[in-house]
């Protein structure tokens, strides 16, 4: 029996090790009453000090949402969510709207971000890192943005980078012009819910001809129990602008599942380029599938101008359930969309993710590289759409989706939809599914690597194409994250 006990302990250790962001911050928070109704929406809107039109938009979305049904086509299963058993707004007491600077932020919060390794103090960032690698951060804690760094510096370059709540107060016309223009409020069940109750997120506006001088990033943290997080992000790149944006996310380890329903909209005008990278590491639930975040996200980019470009890169390691299809609408002639994804699922995680490339303009091109890795008892699905409309002459797409299976209880699925209505469109699609070959393992083991190291090595090789697309700091982090996510999946 002692041997059994040892194994049990060891497994437990691995489990805890696996998710090192699972702690809870004890902080007083200001919450809306539980449940969802028009009053709650008014409450959120009032908290944010929003204008009348925004409240009307939210209420309109809410009324539409009431008539909609939760989608069930994705290959994920979970107990029905009771949308009235959630808190839709939760904010740390000393934070957000009205704070003058970092000094007024609750030290508990600062400690949290320190623990998460997110630099919020500008001087510290400057001290350690070379200026060219600076990253401006918008830190979102539950329903509010705690702080946005380097705002002034960015403003000098003409770039607006702030929380969406602040943008709604400071730049209402700009937000009004673009909000909901890519993801209409009644787009889908979760997007509509988000349009009604979204609390915070980031707003980025890069004016004509500006190359954003530093990487922008948002760090999302869910802390409070039974709360849903509804982030809303809007990025607009005007003619000839360039911006690279990263998002990261974590949540505490809990037995109950929590809902995260985000909407991200990107608008790229003529010759503009937006690079959007995500490292998603929400709490994935424990080894038995208890708890974890339900990540139901609508992300869409609109290449509105000619020669515009949008690129999505995602590393998905967390969340109990992922339902996410970052898409590109290639409206402008010669525009380009890219999607690079690594989706890793272990234990009982379920991922249904992919992309949509909708070719509307002439000479548009897109590229999809998706790498799925499933281990444990997880299910990992790639679901994607590539379509060329009548007028999309010379549209080009190349898709590659590869799946790697580790262990015999997991599943890997590929569900691509390819629709061509233009004869000159050239689409290529290839997909493979296999396990790590015995030859590869043998080769590594023979050179003295342990089984886990060997798997990590092969996996890192498998996902290299994607990791290379990430900004350097994130690439290093992602590589570590991948090996941690797969810990305990061998043997």
């Amino acid at each position: 029996m002692p041997a059994v006990q040892e194994t049990v302990d060891r497994v437990r250790e691995i489990d805890v090790e696996q998710y090192k962001y699972g702690f809870v911050t004890n902080i007083e928070s200001d919450k809306a009453p539980k449940g969802l109704n028009e009053d709650i929406i008014r409450f959120i809107s009032a908290k944010k000090g929003e204008l009348e039109w925004m409240l009307e938009t939210r209420l309109d979305a809410y009324r539409r949402w009431l008539t909609m049904e939760e989608p069930d086509w994705a290959r994920v299963s979970y107990p029905k969510i009771d949308f009235n058993d959630l808190y839709y707004y939760s904010a740390p007491k000393k934070s957000g709207y009205g704070l003058k600077g970092l000094d007024e932020v609750d030290p508990e919060l600062l400690a949290t971000y320190e623990k998460l390794g997110i630099p919020l103090r500008e001087q510290e960032i400057l001290a350690g890192v070379e200026p060219k690698n600076r990253v401006a951060v918008d830190a979102v804690f539950d329903s509010v943005s705690v702080i946005t760094t380097f705002k002034e510096g960015l403003a000098k370059a003409g770039v607006i980078f702030c929380s969406i709540s602040e943008a709604l107060r400071e730049h209402p016309d700009l937000v009004k012009k673009y909000l909901g223009s890519v993801v209409p409020i009644s787009d889908n069940f979760y997007a509509t819910l988000n349009s009604a109750v979204f609390s915070d997120g980031s707003f980025v506006y890069v004016p004509e001809g500006v190359r954003c001088p530093m990487e922008l990033s948002t760090y999302f943290r869910i802390n409070e129990q039974n709360t849903g997080q509804f982030e809303r992000t809007l990025i607009v790149a005007e003619k000839g602008a360039y911006v690279s944006y990263l998002e990261g996310c974590t949540a505490p380890q809990r037995d109950e599942s929590q809902l995260h329903a985000a909407v991200v909209e990107l608008v790229a005008m003529e010759d503009a380029e937006i690079k959007y990278s995500t490292v998603q590491n929400w709490y994935p639930g424990d080894a038995d599938g208890r708890g974890g975040i339900y990540n139901f996200v609508t992300k869409r980019g609109d290449c509105r101008g000619v020669r515009s470009k949008i690129s999505w890169t995602q590393v998905e390691t967390g969340s109990a359930i992922t339902w996410k299809y970052p898409s590109c609408i290639l409206r402008g002639d010669d525009s380009r969309g890219e999607f690079y994804s690594v989706a890793i699922s272990n234990c009982h995680q379920q991922i249904d993710s992919g992309t949509k490339m909708i070719h509307l303009g002439k000479n548009t091109s897109s590229r999809i590289i998706s790498k799925g890795i499933s281990a444990g008892k997880s299910q990992n699905t790639y679901r994607g759409l590539v379509s060329a409309h009548r007028k999309a002459s010379n549209a080009r797409n190349f898709t590659q989706c590869d799946n790697l299976l580790i262990g015999q209880d997991c599943g890997a699925h590929t569900v691509p939809y390819i629709e061509s209505k233009n004869a000159s469109a050239v689409f290529e699609h290839e997909a493979t599914t296999s396990k790590i070959s015995d030859d590869q393992m043998f080769y590594c083991l023979q050179r003295g690597l342990s089984e886990e190291e060997a798997v990590a090595l092969v996996v890192n090789g498998f996902v290299r194409d994607i990791i290379q697309q990430l900004p350097m700091e994130f690439a290093v982090e992602s590589q570590k994250l991948i090996s941690i996510s797969l810990e305990g999946s061998v043997g």
């Binding site: 086509w73 009548r390 799946n403 299976l405 580790i406 262990g407 015999q408 209880d409 997991c410 599943g411 890997a412 699925h413 590929t414 569900v415 691509p416 939809y417 390819i418 629709e419 061509s420 209505k421 233009n422 004869a423 000159s424 469109a425 050239v426 689409f427 290529e428 699609h429 290839e430 997909a431 493979t432 599914t433 296999s434 396990k435």
Partner: protein
């Protein structure tokens, strides 16, 4: 009848129900028919909201229920059959269905050792034939339900264990006379270690609807090749379902040539039930004008150590729309599965449409599965190369289309069949 008709929203759907109620007889499979029509009643015709039929919306595409076909006069039937170019005199045994009904005087079903062919209608009058409805029970599909509810006649084919049938067994379907609907259902069982080749041909003139279904099972070690030629009239509608179950160590080679019908859907479901089997499902599609052609293949790897290949080539001209849906399901514990699927389309005009959905669904880890899909126009460089060598443009195009299709056609092996199909392709291209 007070059954729930709420799912039925079109005139064609309501007419089908009425037709069923009017024609309802008390044969040996009455219960099976009742169950099927109840299924249809609850779902109606497949439409784009039904995932499996996303790209072929029958609710819009099938706007009438034609009366059930009757046998034409003997002379008319003979004349109709005589004009059909199947694989000619290659066939050994031949069973002919005119308007979905067995035509004994035009068929040649006896005299081949190890081969038994009976008419479904004759058997149904007495008892429920063995194997009928067995494979169909696993599928929920409205086209199949309609077939089960209305099936009039078909062939019950048994190949004895160990039999080696030298010449192809031809199953010929011909439509003649007034616009009407036919429902044929075949049950084909190939015994252990038997070797046989089937050719299944559909042809006709004018406006009509064909709904055909086959339940096919092959016992251990059988070697079966099967060629289906769908050459319906351009005004016809063709719905076909092949349900197949392979035991261990079976070799199954299936080829579909689709060029007819205004709207066609050819769905093939294949299940590996024994280890060490191999199946190859190939299809060629040649469509033009307003034709809509849907090829759907679903392969279930329910056991380890099987190999499947799906290969679909589409040539699309005019304003036609092609659909290819392929799915490889690998069940838990179906280790060492090797499944591959390739779908390629060649566009010959500007206003064509093509939709693909090549799916992999994998629940076992030690497998190798892959799929590829490409689409595009004729490579201008290749055309230039040929023309630079003095080949006229039309001929060069024909050559390139033939080369494109040859990958699936030449695999058939039988030279005479390959030649026949290539000839058909040339005729289709107008060369």
């Amino acid at each position: 009848m007070t059954a729930d008709n709420t799912a039925l929203s079109t005139a064609a759907e309501r007419a089908l129900i009425e037709q069923y109620e009017a024609a309802s007889t008390g044969d040996a499979v009455k219960l099976m028919r009742e169950k099927a029509i109840a299924g249809f009643r609850s779902r109606g015709l497949p439409n784009r909201r039904v995932e499996e039929w996303k790209y072929t919306d029958l609710r819009r595409g099938m706007n009438e229920a034609l009366p059930i076909a009757e046998m034409p006069a003997a002379a008319e039937a003979k004349a109709a059959v005589d004009t059909v170019a199947g694989f000619g005199d290659m066939a050994g045994a031949r069973i002919v269905f005119v308007n979905g009904l067995y035509a004994p005087e035009l068929s040649e079903i006896s005299g081949v050792e190890g081969l038994t062919i009976r008419s479904l209608a004759a058997t149904l009058a007495k008892s429920r034939p063995q194997g009928l409805g067995e494979l169909a029970a696993s599928l929920t599909d409205s086209a199949l339900d309609l077939n089960t509810a209305f099936m009039r006649d078909g062939a019950l084919i048994d190949v004895a264990a160990g039999a080696e049938i030298e010449k192809p067994v031809e199953i010929l379907h011909v439509a003649a006379g007034e616009p009407a609907a036919t429902y044929t259902r075949h049950v084909v069982r190939v015994g252990e270690g038997a070797k046989v080749c089937f050719s299944e041909v559909y042809s006709g003139k004018g406006h009509y609807q064909t709904n055909t279904a086959i339940e096919f099972s092959a016992a251990k070690g059988a070697e079966v090749s099967w060629i289906k030629l769908q050459n319906e009239s351009r005004e016809a509608q063709h719905l076909s379902t092949l349900l197949s179950r392979l035991d261990g160590e079976v070799g199954f080679d299936h080829f579909i040539f689709n060029s007819g019908a205004h709207l066609s859907r050819t769905q093939t479901f294949l299940r590996f039930d024994g280890e060490g089997s191999r199946a190859e499902l190939r299809s060629a599609m040649l469509i033009t004008e307003e034709q809509h052609c849907d090829v759907t293949l679903v392969v279930d790897h329910a056991v380890p150590n099987c190999e499947s290949r799906e290969f679909c080539k589409s040539v699309i001209d005019g304003a036609a729309k092609g659909v290819f849906q392929g799915r490889i399901n690998v069940f838990p514990h179906a280790q060492k599965t090797d499944g591959r699927m390739v779908s390629q389309a060649l566009f010959l005009s500007e206003s064509v449409e093509m939709a693909y959905k090549p799916e992999l669904e994998i629940f076992a880890d030690d497998v190798q599965c892959a799929h590829g899909a490409t689409s595009g126009q004729i490579d201008e460089d290749l055309l230039f190369y040929l023309r630079a060598r003095g080949i006229p443009e039309a001929e060069a195009r024909t050559l390139l289309v033939l080369a494109f299709l040859s990958e699936v056609i030449e695999e058939i092996g039988d030279e005479q069949v390959v030649e026949t199909l290539e000839e058909r392709t040339r005729t289709w291209l107008g060369y």
